[in-house]
Symmetry: C2
Subunit: 398 residues, 2 copies
């Protein structure tokens, strides 16, 4: 399912050093679209992030997103900014778009410049490589992948009063994942396209809410990136007109579904991951308390290596919760690992290590911490920490 | 060099499951000693930590520390507290010490009870196993080791007006190391013995200052433990009397040297570590800013795996600094890796990758970030992140 009035594509420009790897993607709307965006809150922001923030600040319409892999264009100073702007301007020229209507995004090695002659070559190739087929979609999504091992895209279609609306989204990200686009704390790039007609402010608010329960509930390694970017384009080409409150709610639900689905894919494809882990924090005092505890457990190397070993080492989860900066009473806590209650009211239970091991050897594992300290609950998503994480990241640049 | 008036020793009681492993240590003073202590700030505090805090709160004299490995006695509820108290009381009885004058400490698996019959057996063995020889020292230190691969002890002797004073210290800790005994954020156990005569309040202050530049500047994996404990006993048996301000300063310097030396040993013995890493944050606005950045870089899995691969991936250090919650201008930053300037005034330099690789293949590696944002500097200590860390922690309990 693809929204009306968009074309996408991906080509090999040569920016990414790996032979044959597609590395330049374009997402373009037939008409200028409303847009919402969220970017890394890191003090060290990559050039494309700085350029996009600048281009979006006046709330104008956006027609295209050009994105490359293989080079993050981060920590590249004035030349980096110039290159990012050139990427936007050349995209506008090649596709006859209004000046100022293209955004850019990059992911890859930090501290290197984009190879601009190769970029120019890529833009030429893109002219005849964008469309609406599944192949076009897959080319675009694969062009933004780095250490990702599978394509991450999803879509949702729903009926509204005057017809139907489609929300399509993709994401890349497997390492340096701990998105913080709110002021807490990936390279995560996510582009979401919809043919709904919805104004910028409402779109931004719906996106921020959706990110809170999805991208901000996922961590692979705790490392927030310089390049995190989520952009939504809403071009109105469903021709369903402005949305009623009820339909706006439906839209928000669809966006929630799309972002949550994409966020889970990131955790499933965590660098070197052998399993997907859902950590549910129940009955915290506030949602932010639950998020802090979820994030601390999800980024604990001790907890993550224990899961790799299928070891029901719940003590490491509780120890991580204890250092999360949240007040709670350990004497009241219940803990479940792989569906087995291992700790009840502050006391370790005699559980079957064999059953626990069996449960934790599965590809999808759940841990639950019930704090009995309030009414706020939240699910946090991550993966285990394996030999391959070390291998992948021990020599990523070469 | 060993301070006067102390005896130490270590035996195998059987609390630790590993065949033949010494697991019970005693540090005892001939006379009741003044004492200072620092403990984990985690919400989840192990039973021995809770018992020691209670026993020290009225500032009384301390004669002994009994410490075991193999079981953390953490998350063990009321029975855990009772067992920790019994450890203290049985030590007092066995060594004819005043009631309330023994402290206890534990390290090992969370959520299991101490095997008390085995403990009782251990105390009997300790009666004839404490002394002042190097062998006694080594037995005591090895009895508190868990995944540690070498004995961590050091000492310092200095002259004062009326004679000489000795400060002796030991530490255990290789994983779950990110001590936070201040209210920021190991199992780290450190016991420091001195024959100086110094009152509790001054001793506590000197200890807290020393920890700030040593134990609070070291992280192996970012995981703060439920059991972190540092205890200093000062028994006055040097017979040098109360210290002059100048001699107090000398004492503080000696304690700083001892704690820094022990902290560095922890980083060198980080679980699975192949190299020792010193991260110097220069010219931060405040020391706490420098500590936050140091800690964020030192706990970044991406930075640590890059070092394992001897990859001068400075971008990961800068990305980590960017998410540390500290404001600075990336355009002003200089970065050195292994003594080579790789980033100057916000711009990547063309450095020799070959030379950088050579420098980073060494057993001791330095990284420097000069923020040019103030006058505060700090050195933070850590290690790289290897396959063996995953191996060690993937199945620690079994």
């Amino acid at each position: 399912m693809f929204p009306k009035g968009f074309r996408v594509g991906g080509v090999r420009s040569g920016i990414h050093k790996k032979e044959g790897k597609k590395d330049l993607a374009l997402f373009v709307s037939d008409v200028p679209a409303n847009a919402a965006g969220m970017f890394t809150k890191s003090v060290v922001k990559a050039a494309p992030v700085l350029v996009d923030i600048e281009r979006m600040k006046n709330g104008g319409k956006i027609s295209a997103i050009i994105a490359n892999s293989g080079c993050a264009n981060a920590c590249t100073g004035a030349k980096g900014i110039k290159d990012a702007k050139t990427m936007c301007v050349e995209t506008e020229k090649a596709f006859n778009l209004k000046a100022g209507s293209a955004l850019c995004a990059s992911t890859g090695v930090i501290g290197q410049y984009i190879n601009m002659p190769k970029f120019a070559n890529g833009i030429e190739l893109l002219k005849s490589a964008v469309g609406i087929s599944s192949k076009n979609e897959n080319d675009a999504v694969s062009a933004i992948m780095t250490t990702d091992t599978f394509l991450k895209k999803t879509s949702k279609r729903f009926k509204v009063k005057n017809g139907e609306i489609t929300v399509w989204g993709c994401v890349k990200g497997a390492g340096m994942i701990h998105p913080d686009m709110r002021g807490l704390h990936a390279t995560m790039l996510s582009f979401i396209l919809t043919d709904a007609q919805i104004e910028n402010k409402t779109l931004q608010k719906i996106l921020e809410n959706a990110a809170d329960d999805s991208f901000h509930c996922v961590s692979v390694d705790g490392d927030t990136s310089t390049n995190d970017t989520v952009i939504v384009l809403a071009n109105g080409q469903s021709k369903t007109g402005g949305l009623s409150p009820a339909d706006t709610k439906k839209f928000a639900e669809a966006l929630n579904e799309v972002t949550l689905s994409l966020a889970k894919m990131i955790a499933k494809d965590g660098e070197g991951a052998t399993k997907f882990v859902e950590i549910e924090i129940k009955n915290a005092k506030t949602k932010e308390d639950a998020r802090k505890i979820g994030a601390t457990i999800a980024t604990s190397p001790l907890f993550k290596t224990a899961l790799f070993g299928a070891d029901a080492n719940w003590g490491r989860a509780l120890a991580a919760a204890g250092r999360a900066g949240v007040n709670f009473n350990p004497e009241k806590v219940d803990i479940y690992m792989g569906g087995i209650c291992v700790f009840k009211n502050g006391t370790a239970l005699n559980f079957s290590e064999k059953s626990a091991k069996k449960a934790l050897l599965k590809k999808e594992v759940k841990a639950v911490l019930d704090l009995k300290n309030g009414k706020a609950s939240l699910k946090y998503y991550t993966c285990d920490f394996s030999y391959d994480y070390v291998k992948i990241n021990g020599d990523y640049r070469s």
